[in-house]
């Protein structure tokens, strides 16, 4: 998976790393069980402090998207619906609130969601 990080953007780098991994899993660019680079290696390649990558990995671990094993390293793990956190609902609520502000109806939102899922599936993402 190719991670793209914008250093001039307002989004903190650790959050960008976290979002890129989530997008990568959804698009199928990161497979279940695939090992991610080590914190030090990724930090060195991006050119940031290892603490930044560590923070991103910690959030992903908390979200149940990755798991760290001493022998295998950090791997993408099977996601369980039960693990959906409260922050997910809050984020979704915020996105839908924005949609309402932009005067999008239920059908429009449904169509958008359909298109996004179609895009994920076309790339071989999680079905």
């Amino acid at each position: 998976m190719i991670m793209e990080l914008d250093f001039t953007g307002d989004v903190p780098i650790y959050l960008q790393i976290r979002n890129q991994v989530v997008l990568g899993i959804a698009r199928g660019e990161l497979k279940i069980g695939e090992t991610l680079p080590t914190v030090r290696q990724l930090a060195s390649d991006i050119g940031v402090n290892p603490m930044t990558v560590n923070k991103a990995y910690a959030i992903l671990r908390q979200d149940g998207l990755i798991q760290t094993d001493r022998r295998q390293g950090t791997q993408v793990c099977e996601f369980q619906k039960e693990k959906i956190t409260e922050s997910f609902y809050k984020n979704l609520e915020l996105v839908l609130a924005e949609a309402v502000v932009y005067k999008l109806g239920e059908d429009d939102i449904e169509q958008l969601i359909f298109d996004i899922f179609k895009n994920f599936n076309q790339r071989g993402g999680i079905k």
Partner: protein, 460 residues
Amino acid sequence: MMQLILSAVCLVLLVIVLISGLSLASQKANGKLLVVSLSRADAQHPEVGKITADYKRKLCLGGGLAALLSLVFLIPGLPDSLAFFLMTAFMALVLGGSTIILEHSRMRLLAFKKEQGWIYGNPQVIRVDTAVSRDKKSYSAQLAYLLPPLALSFLPLAWIIGKPQLQVNLPIYGALLGPFFMAIHLWIHHWIQNRHISIPTVDPERNAALVKLEQRELSRASLWLTWLSLVFWLILSFQVIWDPFDMMILAVASVLLIAVDLCIVLRAAGRIRLSQILYCDPGKEIIVDDDYFWHYGSYNNPSDPRVMVEKQSFGGGMIFNLGNPRGRLYNRLVLGAVGIFIALILGFMLSFDLGGIKVVDQGTVIRVDVPVFGTIVNKADIESVSIIDQMPKSIRTNGLGGSNLSLGQFTAQGYGKSLFFIHNDQSPYIVIKLRDKYLFINGRDRVETEEILGIFKTGR
């Protein structure tokens, strides 16, 4: 001899700068042409071809002029300090001149690029391929393969520790040079394994294939160079221990080693370049449009958090990001250290060229005044004083072997441990046998030598 070495160093630098400068005129895997980002299609434009041809012409012309200028080192009797100063000035001229030629052509290309409206995305976006980042270390030869040469490099040290009498030819600190250079090889190999690699395409499979080949070639080259360096070190150290006065085998070995090293490096570079051409897909290349952060070979991007970035101009390696406060600080420290180092060496050499050798009779002792290597000879220690017309073969153990002066501790063939205070090629030479060593001394000319001879003869 010293002038020949300096002249050779300058010519080698000139050749390296010319080769790497000319290589900038052909497009690299990251799309850079004359340190300007261009897509492969845009690089085919005839005007781009004209600018690169003009750059090559100017660089070759500058190189020819510099080669002519290097003849100055062949002026006979050049003082060491002046020769060193000229070498530093020559290097600065070659590096500065080629950078100015590159920057001039670069600005022309940039202006043309702007005129054509060729823009390739946001330069502030950094791309990392997670698979490459994870696997690049495993693609290269293991660091463990370099441990045997490191261990074997201690052999000469073990030998001279076992036989302390051999330490006359090779002192312990000299025997530690081999392991030190092996450790540098180890560090370079570690750096190759972990270095930052720019992602060439948006296709992860191509990236993996390219990086795999690049890492394998570079690490194998590093491995071969390490083993060859070990062979050279063993030949050098055993030759110095065995027969320090005959360096013919070593000279032949050096030439062979440099030739084989060059072949290994060129082979690796050629294979990497070929793979980049073969694997590159014009539609899928990633071009980082960061032209405006590069000026005169330096990189200045305050938004880039990296302290060091890949060098784009002459030669490979990394340079500091001057937009980063830490990068700026390190850059100043390195430049300051280099400046101080050059000034110290120049001052050191000037002190010898201006000071010369002075001999003063002080009653019971004779003082030989020379910067750093001066000594006091007790008259009671002088056993004999004689004159020779030709200096014996010698090796320097702890002294200065300049083109005009030889000072300090040497081992002379047929004499053994000796102290040299010699103006080279100014025959005759005075040989003073002391209780535990020999002292070789002469003046700037025959008259001065006879004066010195008088002082030592009265002392006897």
